[in-house]
């Protein structure tokens, strides 16, 4: 009755959740507060409204409802999740409910081996650290906190010592693009899963300041060419353009919960369809108004030439487009450039 298999099972469950609108993954923004002030950050304000923040009991309720809704993966984030007064209780409860619980963090609060060990003992399964360069001045320039580089590196070491699975997420900007290969080599040497992503989103309130850090088309070309040469397997793979394919998984196989308990289709799409503390998950999830986000197909996108090679590399995000151009169906110039660069390799 129990067959150990791997990717096949995971893929089957991902497809099933997407097709049946079961949110296999939920990201929880435990707080908007943060101990860094990253130049690129999409969060408009690092404050929590005391009248709206959730109590610990509310978070327990949210987790209970997500379990019932079919969620398997919980991603704790924020802001900086560890600044939530309930962080440890939420982590413990999430683990006890049988969720796979991971976290995206700057690591600033992990200062001792005891804290890293406690994370392991409380059941965290994976830690993704936001680290932008091996050069302290470049990382600190982006985070706007002097000494943050040293702290994040230390946190990574402590978590590895604790036996935790560690990853590094490096947002690729015009300030760190020259350092990315050194960072990737360092991660490989330390057995750390490395991810670099050049897609910088506007702030969630539409403020475009973070976009100033986007790499130029020339920089992107340089980066992808050099990376493909160094790691041929990293060459971006086309996904055959099919008109009737959904552009993303938002509001289907994934969802997100804000610091105030609002249920949103994903981190980028900030339209709240209901509050998970006061309403049932299924009541919110089946609201007709959510379909405008979950039913977007490739053929709905504006200005895409289905015959072009780059259409197979388009990673359209309706949330980013909405925040950037007020139109979820309009691919941004950046996404078009990125697709063209990938197609040219």
């Amino acid at each position: 009755m129990a067959t150990p298999q791997n990717l096949d099972i995971l893929n089957k469950w991902r497809l099933k959740s997407s097709a049946s609108w079961i949110p296999l993954q939920a990201s929880l923004e435990l707080t908007n507060r943060c101990n860094e002030r990253c130049q690129h950050c999409y969060i408009p304000s690092f404050k929590d409204d005391p009248k709206k923040v959730l109590s610990l009991h509310d978070w327990y309720l949210v987790l209970d409802k997500l379990k019932k809704a079919g969620t398997l993966y919980i991603v704790l984030m924020g802001g900086e999740a560890m600044l939530s007064p309930f962080f440890w209780d939420i982590l413990k409860y999430s683990h006890s409910k049988g969720f796979h619980t991971s976290m995206i963090t700057n690591g600033m609060k992990i200062k001792t081996q005891e804290t890293a060990d406690k994370l392991r003992n409380f059941g965290i399964k994976q830690m993704s650290f936001s680290l932008y360069s091996l050069k302290p001045h470049v990382h600190d320039f982006l985070t706007r906190v002097k000494g943050s580089h040293q702290k994040t590196i230390k946190a990574i070491e402590l978590c590895q010592n604790a036996g935790l699975e560690v990853g590094v997420n490096a947002l690729l900007t015009n300030a760190n693009i020259d350092d990315i290969f050194d960072l990737e080599d360092w991660c490989i040497e330390k057995n750390i899963v490395f991810k670099a992503d050049p897609t910088i989103t506007p702030k969630l309130d539409g403020n475009l300041d973070p976009l100033k850090l986007r790499a130029s088309k020339e920089q992107l070309l340089y980066f992808f060419r050099a990376r493909t040469k160094k790691f041929p397997k990293s060459k971006p793979k086309p996904e055959t353009y099919i008109e009737s394919t959904h552009v993303c998984n938002a509001g289907k196989g994934k969802c997100a919960i804000t610091a105030y308990g609002d249920l949103i289709p994903c981190i980028e799409i900030r339209e709240a369809f209901g509050n998970l503390v006061t309403e049932d998950f299924s009541e919110i999830w089946k609201k007709e108004s959510m379909n405008k986000w979950r039913n977007i197909l490739n053929q709905d996108l504006k200005g895409i030439d289905p015959k072009s090679k780059s259409s197979n590399f388009c990673e359209h995000c309706p949330g980013i487009s909405n925040n950037e151009c007020n139109d979820p169906l309009q691919p941004t110039q950046f996404q078009k450039d990125l697709a063209q660069v990938k197609a040219s390799l």
């Binding site: 009755m1 129990a2 298999q5 079919g70 398997l72 683990h95 049988g98």
Partner: protein, 95 residues
């Protein structure tokens, strides 16, 4: 291998979820995913509610629920337990 005086308990370190009468269980340490069919899911859900059932209890449940004879139910339950114990998803202890 399975004795009357043993009970079986879920190792709470393994993330899991049920969907459409099937269950997925992850083993992060070995980086594996396991799947339970309808009958396995039925036993799994029972174990979630009743912490430490015995082989006999589980066999009886399976036999009644799926209308199968005792021998067949016992073989299936043993297979279920054996496989999950091997994957460290269940732990066996003295009752």
């Amino acid at each position: 291998m399975f004795y009357q005086n043993k009970t079986y308990k879920i190792n709470t370190d393994n993330p899991w979820q049920c969907m459409d009468q099937e269950t997925i269980i992850l083993s992060p340490k070995s980086n594996k995913a396991h799947e339970l069919n309808k009958a396995g899911t039925y036993l799994w859900n029972h174990m979630q509610e009743n912490n430490t059932p015995s082989l006999n209890e589980l066999t009886e449940l399976l036999s009644v629920k799926f209308n199968i004879n005792g021998i067949e139910a016992k073989t299936d339950t043993e297979l279920f337990l054996k496989s999950l114990i091997e994957q460290q998803i269940l732990v066996e202890s003295d009752s």
